[in-house]
Symmetry: C2
């Protein structure tokens, strides 16, 4: 599989093309130190075989932000070195920190914006990024990534909503790109040219008046020319459309752009691959072969492989899918697809991040703050004599499924075949009941359920039930399908 | 060209694959009668050679909405018959009305939502749609289109933000589809099976919690099965994210979803073609060959042709491009591309619609409420001895261009070649000055300007100026391009 071909990013050779993009854990302590739980989280990704692990956002400054990692002083280096050592001792996974600067946000909803920064503030931020990358190198990271996506400082400079009117201003593309150029100059001055430095940025802001692919293609070209060594694409996640509840944390993933950033179960698979494809084609045509990755519902192994084979991306970013199962890479490599704990995009993890609670996955065993160990010797759950006893009831547009519990099962996947030969997982649940709201009358659906052990092992399919939702009595009779003819 | 192949929609044979989708004119009088200006607007599209003209939204009821056309009573039939006769007397263009029901909106910002409708209200709306389509047939229209897109009643039933909890409710796909099934049953009962009835709906809502392509593919299948004869795709345009200024009209195209609906100059060309392609492929695979069109920056003739050749769509919807120049179809057919009045997506038309003013195009001669007549005998403007005297100044990330006025010119197009052989129109202006904010340092841009007569004739290119924006002094030196190698 293309997924398991190595990828050289300068001297950092990823053993495969699977990246865990940055996901906040909320496990750091209040001063931003690495603690054992943080190390365990990233060692688990290394055990699982990810090619590149991006450490969650780590701040270049001390500004208050809950339990966020810090790299704002040399005294943080030793703790981070312990983390990188543990990761490197575990596997050949590479690890880079996602280095962030963010502006102030208050519980009242007030937030600082880039037009409030003085030139001295800008100089300070430029220096802070350079020093942070230097510390990352000293701490044994294989490279670093600058966080220039979502609602944070560097991204806000790039934004068409950048309200500055000076040479860093939102009026022109060059103005919006000015800050990142200065930051990169300082970074290279402090770490040299041989240290891999990537950038994460938005391929589309998905906000009113925000930038689109027209700009992001040009930005990507600039980043390639500035000497960034990889480009990691995300989208949205902006404050401009975030929903603020006074007195609560103002979380930039609560508006529409937040929906896009972490697309839920009713988004298509790989909804942003088209942006990566266009950006990669554009910079390649200009003579730059900087590797491009993008995130967004790429956790179906076949889809992840396809975007690489198509040349849409050079490597893939899988966040929630690898949170659910850090062993996704190893399991896919071994063809053990029935052992994957599959993310169903329920976004409980997003909700935990947004309320500053320790981020875990709903599909892990209850109370667990780490993914279960990958233990292939644990047996898969099996059904009783009723083979699961799956039954279905159709009422008011909704299919209600229920089944018998399987001993040892912590999770069930509900599978649906739609008559075209493809099987979809419609839900992943912990109880022995599920609802399907998305059926269409006139179709014929086959459902079955599989039970999974905590470590991922999946048992055999249950009995199959067939549901044929009735065509609505008060609609015209369905027009028959014709053989699809060329028009 | 594929654009000029006929397309049969039942007995309605479009002479080509170019559709003017519904655009409000705000020219109807307060009672919603057709007036001469309205007729002139649509006759002009017929003169220009559009295959299918969709008459602007025409309401099935009397509810207050400014100068909106009405089809809510038999007494409107005669006026509409005059309109269809004038269009049919002009050319072989076909014309269908876009039939709308909308809910109440107040200047305070309050708005009625579908969950406030009683079952009796629903029955009434179902009847109103059937009666309206029957009147459309009596008035000599070639078919009808049901407006099930944007912020209006039928679309709000389809929406995932539909707040009803009964059998028309938002909880299930079938619930959301219930209303449109009943409407279509009533329509067919009143006009029979042989009258072409299309539907316009959103391929993606582009709002927080809204539906995406996952649902719209299934909806399109349902519409094909319900007997709709064409599918016209739009996106967004929702009240849920609209920006309301108390005391002003609440206009559903003011939020992000409104940006997507009428994408401005910094959106890519054909930004929603991918949605049409996926929907068409899906329904075709299910054995339905109902023609599919989509709107959104398809006014570049090469792009419009390409989406047909690719099989992405069966016909194309071009709104603002044909508002700017209703003769777009004839000019493209004759290869007279230099005579097209090209839309630059400035959205002045959208602003006029949103403030309930007569909708015209900024590129038309000042004070004009109709597109200028297509008169090929009018001479193209020519430059003086200075060949336009174009000069450029680069300052603070922005290129400022100025040139000499050309006698007889009402409009100038600023053209830019980016060194890759492609020429982009960066602006269309009425003055002899333009700014380009979107240049990238390190590139080499060639600019020239062309002057256009009111009727569209374009003169020769001006002198060319070359601009090479300087690489920022405070960024690292640009990494050189390499020959693009296969990775």
């Amino acid at each position: 599989m293309k997924l398991f071909e190595p990828l050289a990013i300068k001297n950092m050779v990823l053993p495969n093309r699977i990246m865990v993009p940055a996901m906040v854990t909320r496990m750091a302590n209040e001063e931003g130190w690495v603690v054992p739980d943080v190390i365990d989280r990233y060692v688990r990704y290394a055990e699982g075989g990810a090619g590149l692990i991006v450490l969650e956002a780590i701040a270049v400054h001390q500004s208050k932000a809950g339990n966020l990692l810090r790299i704002c002083d040399d005294r943080y280096i030793d703790g981070l070195r312990e983390l990188t050592k543990r990761v490197h001792d575990t596997s050949d996974s590479k690890i880079v920190p996602q280095i962030i600067h963010f502006l102030k946000v208050s519980l009242s909803g007030w937030r600082q914006t880039v037009d409030m920064l003085s030139l001295a503030d800008i100089d300070r931020i430029v220096d802070q990024f350079g020093d942070a990358v230097r510390r990352a190198r000293q701490a044994g990271f294989d490279g670093a990534e600058l966080h220039s996506a979502h609602a944070y400082t560097l991204s806000s400079f790039l934004s068409r909503r950048n309200g500055r009117t000076d040479e860093y201003g939102g009026d022109s593309l060059e103005g919006r790109l000015h800050m990142i150029g200065r930051v990169m100059e300082n970074v290279r001055r402090k770490v040299g040219d041989d240290f891999p430095v990537g950038i994460r940025f938005n391929a589309d802001e998905f906000i009113l008046g925000g930038y689109t692919l027209e700009d992001s293609k040009l930005m990507a070209l600039r980043f390639a020319q500035l000497g960034f060594d990889y480009i990691s694409l995300s989208v949205g996640g902006k404050f401009e459309d975030a929903v603020h509840v006074p007195g609560h944390v103002f979380f930039p993933y609560t508006g529409y752009s937040g929906d896009r950033c972490m697309p839920n179960e009713w988004y298509p698979k790989a909804p942003h691959a088209y942006l990566a494809g266009a950006i990669k084609a554009f910079i390649n045509a200009k003579g730059y072969d900087v590797p491009v990755a993008a995130a967004g519902k790429l956790d179906d192994p076949a889809v992840a492989e396809q975007v690489l084979v198509d040349g849409t991306m050079d490597f893939v970013a899988i966040a929630r899918g690898l949170l659910a199962d850090p062993s996704w890479p190893n399991k896919v490599k071994k063809g053990e697809l029935d052992r994957i704990i599959r993310c169903d995009h329920c976004n409980v993890c997003k909700h935990l991040a947004g309320t500053h609670k320790v981020v875990n996955c709903f599909l892990w065993p209850k109370g667990s703050n780490q993914a279960p160990a990958d233990d292939p010797t644990v047996g898969a759950p099996s059904w009783g004599l009723d083979k699961g006893g799956l039954t279905a009831r159709f009422d008011n547009g909704t299919v209600e499924l229920s089944w018998s519990k399987a001993p040892g099962a912590v999770r069930y996947e509900v599978c649906r075949a739609d008559g075209d030969g493809r099987v979809h997982i419609t839900d992943a649940v912990k109880t022995a009941r599920a609802l399907d709201h998305d059926t269409l009358a006139g179709m014929r659906y086959h459902y079955y359920v599989r039970a999974y052990a905590a470590t991922g092992q999946g048992g055999p399919p249950s009995n199959t039930v067939v549901v044929e939702p009735r065509w609505p009595a008060d609609a015209p009779p369905p027009r028959p399908a014709v053989a699809a003819a060329a028009r």
